[in-house]
């Protein structure tokens, strides 16, 4: 099930069915009990009125009138039946309604007791029967026991219960459907921002829109912001690729032209110079698109192992130059960014330092109190020329015909990476002589 709305409605619907089922069960049971009580009360009244209607006769038996206020006694198979039996279980009287029905009365009930039973005559529906054993005091002081019986068909009770049930089900189903429909509508309204995001992403894909609009609810604002950042990054990435390819093509063609001209003469040094120029152009131009930058969700990585691997590599590369490296790397230091970008950054700065130094290189990597991540590399070489220190202008972003010189290539690549990370790059000369490069990466 892929629709959020459908799954919410279906799960709410399932809960509703369970809830309504339990409620109907409880209400139905309560109603049945109440109806049964009412039925019993009614039969009790009938029994009392039957007692009140009985008259003693001379032969120590009882007579009951032909007419009762309750017309159903007179109507055959009406569902309301009554009968009176004497001590020996002989029938003293029975209502006219019993004509055609053999009611299996409980013949005698001990005096002073009441019996409530369900009877099942063959000819009619089930009956609820009330019987009471009494002693009648005749005028001459003689007493005789009698049993009075009243029974009523369950039909009435059943009708009542099923009418109630019909109503109950009707209401619950109606209310349930109304609830689900309004829930569906409400969800549609609440999930509108999602539909909007989907629509806007479609528009971005179609190129009809630059970014997602503002004003999403708090729960979605973060996602919208991240999506926008992603879209912008993709776009600027594409821009970098396009510009790089353009610059690369442009700037490789000049040395190619030179090479072709040089081919006419056997001028190896000139050809080699042009090849070097092309090689460096490729390195410089491709450095930027190869940099990954700080992606959304980039995990921080441990810096000390990365520095160790770099220094171990430099020990091999510069094995013939005895260089003492003094490092100060804060333990457990982490950097939020791409590890290979970091290696490229530090690798280029260190490579310059190893190349230029006489015998010593200093490396400090730490997080400053301001939160900035600082990489500080110095050497005991000749240092930077004054004009470069004054301008701090490392050739960057220029085309190949103005490509950086060989020593400057590493620094130019460093400058490109710094730009992508929003880092500052400062060139200085060390107090005791030698170059010093300080990079500060803001790390929010």
């Amino acid at each position: 099930m892929n629709s959020l709305r459908l799954s919410i409605v279906v799960s709410a619907g399932s809960l509703l069915v369970i809830f309504v089922g339990v409620a109907i069960g409880v209400l139905d049971d309560a109603f049945r009990k109440a109806a049964m009580k009412a039925e019993e009360a009614r039969l009790d009244v009938q029994l009392i009125s039957l007692l009140a209607a009985a008259k003693p006769s001379d032969d120590y038996t009882l007579t009951l009138p032909d007419q009762f206020p309750e017309p159903r006694y007179a109507q055959p198979l009406s569902g309301l039946y009554a009968a009176v039996f004497d001590r020996d279980g002989r029938e003293v009287w029975k209502s006219d309604s019993t004509i055609g029905v053999v009611v299996p009365w409980v013949k005698s009930v001990p005096v002073g007791q009441m019996s409530i039973v369900t009877l099942a005559p063959q000819e009619a529906a089930e009956l609820l029967s009330f019987s009471m054993g009494i002693t009648w005091d005749f005028d001459d002081g003689t007493t005789r026991p009698f049993t009075f019986h009243v029974a009523e068909s369950f039909d009435f009770f059943n009708d009542q219960v099923s009418a109630y049930r019909r109503q109950l089900f009707g209401w619950f189903i109606g209310v349930g459907i109304a609830l689900l429909v309004s829930l569906g509508g409400l969800l549609g309204w609440l999930l509108r921002p999602l539909a909007q995001i989907e629509e806007e992403i479609g528009e971005i894909e179609q190129g009809e829109r630059e970014t997602l609009s503002a004003g999403y609810p708090d729960e979605l604002a973060g996602a919208a912001r991240n999506l926008n950042a992603l879209v912008r990054r993709e776009r600027s990435r594409g821009e970098v690729y396009r510009r790089t390819l353009g610059d690369l093509a442009h700037s490789l063609k000049t040395p190619l032209a030179t090479l072709r001209t040089l081919l006419r003469h056997d001028n190896r040094d000139d050809i080699d110079r042009e090849l070097t120029r092309m090689d460096e152009t490729i390195r410089y131009q491709l450095a930027k698109p190869a940099t990954r930058g700080r992606l959304i969700g980039t995990k921080p990585f441990d810096v000390p192992p990365a520095i160790d691997a770099l220094l171990a590599s430099f020990a091999k590369i510069y094995a013939d130059k005895s260089v003492t490296v003094q490092t100060s790397v804060a333990p457990a230091l982490r950097f939020r960014g791409d590890p290979s970008d970091f290696t490229e950054l530090v690798g280029n700065v260190l490579d310059n330092a190893f190349k230029r130094c006489q015998s010593a290189v200093w490396l400090r990597v730490e997080r400053e109190a301001s939160g900035a991540f600082v990489i500080d590399v110095s050497d005991d070489g000749p240092g930077f020329p004054e004009p470069l220190l004054a301008s701090q202008e490392i050739v960057r972003g220029q085309r190949l015909d103005e490509a950086p010189s060989s020593q400057g290539l590493g620094l130019a690549i460093v400058a490109e990476i710094c730009e992508l990370y929003g880092a500052s790059l400062r060139l200085a000369n060390r107090d005791g002589g030698g170059a010093r490069v300080t990079i500060a990466v803001p790390n929010p």
Binding site: D272, L275, D279, R283, A290, A309, L310, A312, S313, K316, I317, A319, D320, P339, S340, T343, E344, V346, G347, N348, D351
Partner: protein, 228 residues
């Protein structure tokens, strides 16, 4: 010295082989990673030049497997990927140095020679044993400060002996490592060269630089360092 070159580009592989042979190396060639690993494991190799981007088995895996198998000869990476991460990965896997494409042959040769020298325990390019000094950078021999002329084969033989000065090196090994398979594999050739070297290094038979150990091979017998 026998080099293994593992490079998938036929043009570059051929050109490198020619240059290395011209520089006096015996050369084995492999065109892909699996072949490279096989040669590197089975052949008597002094140094391997391995391209990182190889078909069948990446160069970095060859290096890792060779080091795991206990092969400790120097390995030089050739790579067209010049991000530092690629170099660090290769060097961490067990390579000893790298040369980025495109390179100058001189640069490659210098790095190969430096690696061979260091693997022989020499810190500097000048190998000194008593009065004998071999400048491996300029390929120059001096005895007591006097320059001595050597042919290419003589130089390679002396370099091999001096790089591992103090060690016994068998005649078979010298033949294998110094000459290509197409070369006449006759151990007499070695004897002839050794004889010539002795004459050139020690015309008066005074310092006895090269020792013959019967049935075992040869040893450069002069102590490393300058005689006091």
């Amino acid at each position: 010295m026998r080099l293994l070159i593992v490079e998938d580009d036929a043009e570059l592989r051929g050109a490198l082989a020619e240059e290395m042979r011209r520089a006096g190396f015996a050369v084995e060639l492999a065109a892909d990673g699996e072949e490279g690993l096989y040669f590197a494991t089975e052949y008597p190799i002094d140094l391997a030049v391995i391209d990182l981007g190889l078909p069948k088995l990446p160069g970095i895996d060859i290096i890792r497997r060779l080091r795991e198998a206990g092969k400790d000869y120097p390995i030089l990476i050739l790579t067209a990927r010049d991000r530092w991460q690629d170099k660090v990965d290769g060097l961490s896997a067990g390579a000893d140095d790298y040369v980025a494409k495109p390179f100058h042959v001189e640069e490659l040769l210098a790095r190969i020679n430096a690696l061979l020298r260091r693997s022989g325990g020499w810190a500097s390019a000048e190998l000194r044993c008593g009065p004998v000094m071999l400048d491996t950078k300029r390929q120059l021999l001096t005895v007591d400060g006097q320059e001595v002329d050597l042919t290419g084969h003589e130089y390679k033989l002396l370099e091999h002996l001096m790089l591992r000065a103090g060690e016994v090196i068998s005649k078979t090994e010298l033949t294998e490592r110094l000459y290509d398979q197409d070369f006449e594999r006759d151990s007499n050739v070695i004897e002839v060269f050794i004889g010539r070297l002795r004459k050139k290094l020690d015309p008066d038979d005074a310092i006895k630089p090269i020792e013959t150990l019967r049935g075992r091979g040869y040893r450069f017998a002069l102590e490393r360092g300058v005689d006091s």
